[in-house]
């Protein structure tokens, strides 16, 4: 880290005393209208009581399968979907009750980078106008300063200022995502929501964007709320990670603890599902089999929501909902079977897996 970057980070930490974004018991439910006799109405429990603290200057990751509520949670923090219940504080200010001008002023402090660099940019606007738009909308600075600022933003994300005159289709996917990042930076936000910002990109371009995001964070003390389903990316970019399953956080910890000692069986299953060179063909597959697909967030199962797919589920899991509790410093998990000793239910299985993987590497094949 550069000296300036380190200073920015330290200063940011001191100023905010930790939490820039504080989420408490957030719920976002969507009511589905009853359409006909066959499809009953219902309530989608998209986000169902999550709490987390995003430290200033850090990257907080939300990982989980499709439909687990990652995007909805982030949109709620930006007040872009109606909050059913709970509290969201940015820098101590309650966001859920803000209205009118106050809401508009708050919005410039949180910006978003979307997943799809192809559909998220207006094809009829020039790149410069796209980056300038949020400054005009939110009246950031004097109108005369905005042009030079666009040029500066272009340079900052690794584009040339004269490219501001081009249209989105004249850029490659990676360059378009740089335009998306420049636009997000335009209002000098403190928090940037990155919703799968590299999922649609080739790996080579993905590395360029991830490096850019880290470099910008270092220089400007930015805070990221980072959403992805790619665990490799999460482990690399995030300082803290929350694992979501069906609208709930099932495990949360700093990146080192989470990946070295995953406690929730779902986290463990996710990690073990990632294809890797460690499971090269011919070697014993050390993998958990999760049967079935994630169940629906409409009328989620009682008890532990993961129980229907959990290989370790006992009666209690199906009856009683496990609470999210801190089992080690900063490491939270909601699973009945994780004891005070922090031994997860998959400990035996993963020990066996490690042993068999070790055995298969020494066997000639």
């Amino acid at each position: 880290m550069t000296a300036a970057g380190a200073a920015a980070k330290t200063a940011a930490k001191a100023a905010g005393a930790g939490g820039l974004l504080e989420v408490r018991d957030l719920k976002v439910h969507f009511r589905l209208p009853r359409r006909n006799l066959l499809t009953p109405g219902g309530t989608v429990h998209a986000v169902d009581g999550i709490s987390c603290t995003v430290r200033r200057g850090s990257t907080f990751g939300i990982v989980g399968e499709s439909g687990s509520g990652k995007t909805t949670a982030a949109l709620a923090a930006m007040r872009l979907v109606p909050v059913t219940e709970g509290s969201i504080k940015l820098d101590g200010v309650e966001l859920t009750t803000l209205e009118g001008e106050a809401l508009r002023r708050m919005r410039r402090r949180i910006q978003i980078v979307f997943q799809d660099p192809y559909s998220s940019l207006n094809p009829r606007m020039r790149a410069g106008a796209i980056v300038r738009e949020p400054m005009d909308l939110m009246e950031v600075g004097e109108p005369g300063e905005r042009g030079p600022r666009v040029s500066e933003l272009f340079r900052r994300v690794g584009l040339r200022p004269e490219q501001a005159a081009l249209f989105p289709h004249q850029f490659s996917g990676g360059q378009r995502q740089r335009i998306g990042v420049a636009r997000a930076l335009a209002t000098q936000p403190e928090l940037i929501v990155c919703d799968e910002p590299v999922s649609a990109l080739d790996v080579a371009i993905q590395a360029q964007i991830l490096n850019l995001l880290r470099e910008l964070q270092e220089r400007f003390g930015l805070t990221y709320l980072f959403i992805s389903h790619d665990l490799g990316v999460m482990q690399y970019i995030c300082d803290d990670v929350a694992v979501m399953y069906l609208g709930e956080i099932v495990e949360q910890a700093d990146r080192i603890s989470l990946f070295t000692l995953p406690l929730h069986p779902y986290t463990w299953a996710l990690i073990s599902a990632v294809p890797s060179a460690r499971r090269r063909k011919g070697r014993t597959a050390a993998r958990v089999h999760l049967e079935g697909d994630p169940p629906s967030p409409i009328d989620p199962p009682p008890g532990c929501r993961f129980a229907p797919r959990c290989p370790f589920a006992v009666d209690r899991c199906r009856r009683e909902k496990p609470a999210l509790r801190e089992v080690r410093k900063g490491h939270l998990v909601s699973c009945h079977l994780v004891g005070e000793d922090c031994v997860p239910p998959h400990a035996a299985a993963s020990a066996a897996a490690v042993a068999s993987a070790a055995a298969s590497t020494i066997q000639p094949h």
Binding site: A269, I271, A273, A285, D293
Partner: protein, 333 residues
């Protein structure tokens, strides 16, 4: 039939497309071979020609604007590029079948999944209606669809993405093809479901001896599934080797970059994170390939010769071939 001939052998394949900006050299001198029970992985960035290679093997390249300018695709010795349309219709689905990336676009929404699988079996194996439906149920069971007897009557929209992809696999394997081409079969799926699909493919391959061509941009997926890997760049094969070789000793600067730029999931993540290795720049336009190595504009090792002439593929030993001037004189022979 020549007993020494591989199951599938592609040689000197050249595919071009007429575009508004001139002729796009989509595939240049592509060759590959496949043995029964073997899995060949094809990796590379978007647009490098992975899908086009697959389509050429099935002879499904849209002509025009495309054309197959040269080469041969021999299945058990028979050149499919010279075969009649009638013969090709027999081959597709029966000897070679393909799974596409997006299952919804390749399943017909108005027919039950049972009818769709049965149709393939009736067409190619001449089964009667009853037998074909039994085959469909059997295939659904083979891909672990629960309650197969009931599910066989359902329609694609009634199934989850993971189940639809398994149905696609069932359809592709209904006639026990000798070659299965899977073009990014799991890109649209969650990791836990992707793991199910990969395990299923491995299991079916063990049972039936089907050879698989797996196309992916995910080196991890390729590492796990493939026996051999072919790395493509801008319509050419830049490196080909057994999977172990590619992972442990990649030679081509592009392959090295492709492996190094991905943040790999570590069991014990390092506390200090170095910047990711980048491959600077973007893939070149295929309409204006220039004379030199197509990777030269992005390569840290490029010199004058790289910019002047395209490096020919060379054998560097251990069944490992690489097309890069850095290995000139490294010929194993």
């Amino acid at each position: 039939m020549d007993r020494a001939a591989p199951l599938l052998e592609v040689e000197g394949l050249k595919v071009e497309f007429d575009t508004r900006h001139g002729v796009a050299r989509v595939l240049t001198d592509i060759g590959l071979s496949l043995e029964p029970g073997e899995t060949l992985g094809i990796v590379g960035e978007s647009g490098c020609g992975k899908s086009m290679t697959a389509l050429s093997i099935m002879r499904l390249v849209p002509i025009p604007p495309g054309r197959i300018g040269a080469g041969s695709v021999r299945l058990k010795g028979e050149d499919l590029l010279q075969a009649s349309e009638k013969r090709l219709r027999e081959v597709r689905g029966k000897d070679i079948s393909m799974i596409f990336q997006e299952p919804m676009t390749s399943l017909n929404p108005v027919y039950s999944i049972g009818d769709q699988i049965a149709e393939t079996a009736r067409l190619h194996d001449g089964l009667g209606r009853r037998d074909a439906l039994d085959r469909a149920v059997e295939m659904l069971k083979a891909v672990h669809i629960p309650a197969a007897e009931r599910r066989v009557r359902e329609f694609p929209h009634q199934m989850s993405g993971g189940m639809r992809q398994r149905v696609m696999i069932a359809m592709a394997l209904a006639c026990r093809p000798s070659v299965l081409i899977a073009d990014e079969p799991t890109t649209a799926l969650d990791v836990t479901v992707q793991a199910q699909v990969f395990d299923l493919l491995k299991e079916l391959q063990d049972r039936t001896g089907t050879a698989i061509i797996l196309i992916s941009h995910d080196m991890g997926a390729i590492a796990e599934m493939a026996d051999r890997v072919m790395v493509m760049y801008a319509g050419r094969t830049v490196e080909e080797a057994p999977t172990e070789e590619i992972l442990d000793d990649p030679r081509h600067p592009y392959t090295k970059g492709l492996i190094a730029c991905v943040p790999h999931l570590e069991e014990a993540p390092p506390p200090v994170r170095a910047a990711l290795t980048e491959i600077p720049g973007v893939v070149p336009a295929l309409t204006d390939p220039g004379a030199g190595c197509s990777f030269a504009p992005r390569c840290a090792h490029a010199d004058d010769r790289c910019r002047r002439a395209a490096p020919p593929p060379r054998d560097v030993g251990g069944n490992h071939r690489v097309a890069c001037w850095l290995y000139e004189g490294a010929d194993a022979a």
